[in-house]
Symmetry: C2
Subunit: 485 residues, 2 copies
Amino acid sequence: MARRKAAVIGGGVIGGGWAARFQLMGWDVAVFDPDPEAERKIGEVLDNARRALPGLFDVALPSPGRLVMAGSVAEAVEGADWVQESVPERLELKHKVLAEVQAHTPPGTPVGSSTSGFRPSALQEGAPRPGDIFVAHPFNPVYLLPLVELVGGAATQDALLEHAADILRALGMYPLRIRAEIDAHVADRLLEAVWREALWLVKDGVATTTEIDEAIRMGFGLRWAQMGLFETYRVAGGEAGMRHFIGQFGPALKWPWTRLMDVPELTEELVERIARQSDEQSGHRSIRALERARDENLVGILRALKARDWGAGAVLAEADRHLGPPPVDITRPIETQRRVVPLDWTDYNGHMNEARYLQAFSDATDRLMEIIGCDAAYIAAGGSYFTAETHIRHLDEIRAGEPFRVETRVLHGAGKKMHLFHEMRHGEDGRLLATGEHFLLHVSLETRRASPPAPHVEARLAEIAAAHAELPEPDGVSRAIRRPG
Amino acid sequence: MARRKAAVIGGGVIGGGWAARFQLMGWDVAVFDPDPEAERKIGEVLDNARRALPGLFDVALPSPGRLVMAGSVAEAVEGADWVQESVPERLELKHKVLAEVQAHTPPGTPVGSSTSGFRPSALQEGAPRPGDIFVAHPFNPVYLLPLVELVGGAATQDALLEHAADILRALGMYPLRIRAEIDAHVADRLLEAVWREALWLVKDGVATTTEIDEAIRMGFGLRWAQMGLFETYRVAGGEAGMRHFIGQFGPALKWPWTRLMDVPELTEELVERIARQSDEQSGHRSIRALERARDENLVGILRALKARDWGAGAVLAEADRHLGPPPVDITRPIETQRRVVPLDWTDYNGHMNEARYLQAFSDATDRLMEIIGCDAAYIAAGGSYFTAETHIRHLDEIRAGEPFRVETRVLHGAGKKMHLFHEMRHGEDGRLLATGEHFLLHVSLETRRASPPAPHVEARLAEIAAAHAELPEPDGVSRAIRRPG
């Protein structure tokens, strides 16, 4: 299949994030931004994205597309399957850019706007083909956060938004269709409410920027990474549920718990106070260091949610299923893993932690089990394999962001017994990083004791074992750690 | 040391959470609540807490204290080192309870109130000893979220708040000292702002409760689990920093991006709409199931942040250091791990995932390295041990929440070589769960090649190896996986 092409107009933090997301998910990308610094800035976003994004997925991504800086809007949008506008929030500028985009693209080309505030109908005003323009509002960092608010205007066809949503899902994102047009859509209205209240707290000297940030990330921020406002409150209401909760909490709406009826004036003094407090809070780290810390944290949080198939993590798990595992060829060692080392798999030695080698081998074993028919449905029905013995040789190092693959041989597979040998190789130069040898027993999950597998599982395993018996013996089988000296 | 005692007055979700936190961190707890259902409700909170809290820590917690239901406030507070009031938000009720508490406690007993809204000076009005009363406002679930807003009133001595903060830190919590008294303190003002805006969005039919929740947890909720509002915006501002960000985002304050100037009326119709949407969103799961999903997610998020020593995770890491590792006795296998299986260490088979066995052994190796002087400072100076070979025998299962310990023998330790043998045993019945045998080499982190350790490290390792040479040979050393058949 020919690569698809995205045109990104405006190369700031948001445009750069879009460019990185498209490129790393396999699209060619052309960026136009008149700022002479744009290429350098986008390069920095891409560096961050390359480090963080691929490790969100437990399968191989398509190889990255080609990214070019275009000399004009016309050049950028030529042949584009998606145009994303991320220029500054000035309506007349957006109108000018959108008109230029549509002067050089055929009808039906999706044109998304990253606008935080403008309604799609406002963007569509005076456009050559208003129906092709919609809001696709992402969140920084665009290469990690799944949310995209997708809003159509009066002229937008529903089919175009469906098409756009499919594309966003294939990028590993979460398109949230907003049905009504309002200024600032949904998420930024909530953010704006917090921002106003926080400005009052700083202005009134109640709390510093540090104190407000701790009040968020030590408490409700943790909750909101996995359930939103309403589900959280539903749970807090306990058995009596949402009605009870509103009954309890509702009266507070009448109390003077907020300064929000009023808007603080952004005086020079208030700006100065915030900037100074922010310097005290975060000034000891560069923006670059903060970005990297943020990305490491987000990858860890997203992967923790993915392990539970929940919220933003469920979006990633679905993307894995969409990308699919490598094809199966049983006449050679079977490729059971092809992926990169996620940011959260490294340790104080700066390389993949030893326990993550076993995690990769364990995932490879799971994939082999799936191939022989011991899949989720089979396990739910009460059969599985338990590992009884493991032997790992650590032969070389690998670091976060680097690709690797695991190739698996069935050394023996008959009755309850399965003997596997995994070779982990670097994805670029093929060098052997580790071997994992495993002896497993089929068990009944009810009795927790060894039991024969279902006939179709046993047969498929035996078939692979027979095919692999033809292969030369790998180095390192049945090795033991000897007592030195 | 005698156990300390906490009195918890009011046994709802918040009081129950406090009771669980105190008990599981080693305090005796007496709860008073006139509700005949209180004991059952607290039991349910405790069940959840027992499942989730201990696994936040990578070291052993003190054994849980005794929890009793008291027949009166007087009985509950007798001999208490801390009284926590969590009764409904009615000022006259709180005054009555606080007066009764102080009638039965000696001067200087810290009396914290869980109030979400009242200022401490309002609580102190008319109290026998106003100076002992302060706000200690926690966040649900109290046994997982670290935040406690700590606010003193006009009569509060600073020394008492310092003492209270020390106690909260020892409970693994994060006391945030709020310097100014305002209604609803800090975090709930931010929450109230979001709540009001969200009610408008539902009332105006812009978004459903599901859509609002997804707008939060797919986007800024993920950010706020690790950085707050200001640090996030500082980073978003890029190299130009906070001033630039405010310059860009500031004007939006003047735009009609919020309905917050107004307060929605909680009509029966609006309440009904929210309750119905919430049922559609979450009604397919019981509150119990939602609580458990929430707790699993929070444990995963908190542990992800802990691995990066960041935010709420840094609070947990500090608590681990405060609790400290087990003592060292080199005349027998050294206890290098004593902990429970965290909620996020289990897999689809319902038990500790095989890769986590190696994580536990890897942590045990790290502890042994620390004992021989290969600690964080030594590693920062460029020396470390890399694992070259690992052999694990999985002998028995263990499930989330169950305790285990690891005992480590040095089979060989001379020159660059270290040969370790770990035995993992169940913490209750001592049965052997697994053995881990590891061959490691000392390396230079600069050259990434084998190198001799520092003399003090080599000497200490040799000393332990000599002591352990006196012990009987453990079962399973130098075993290999044999090819069956």
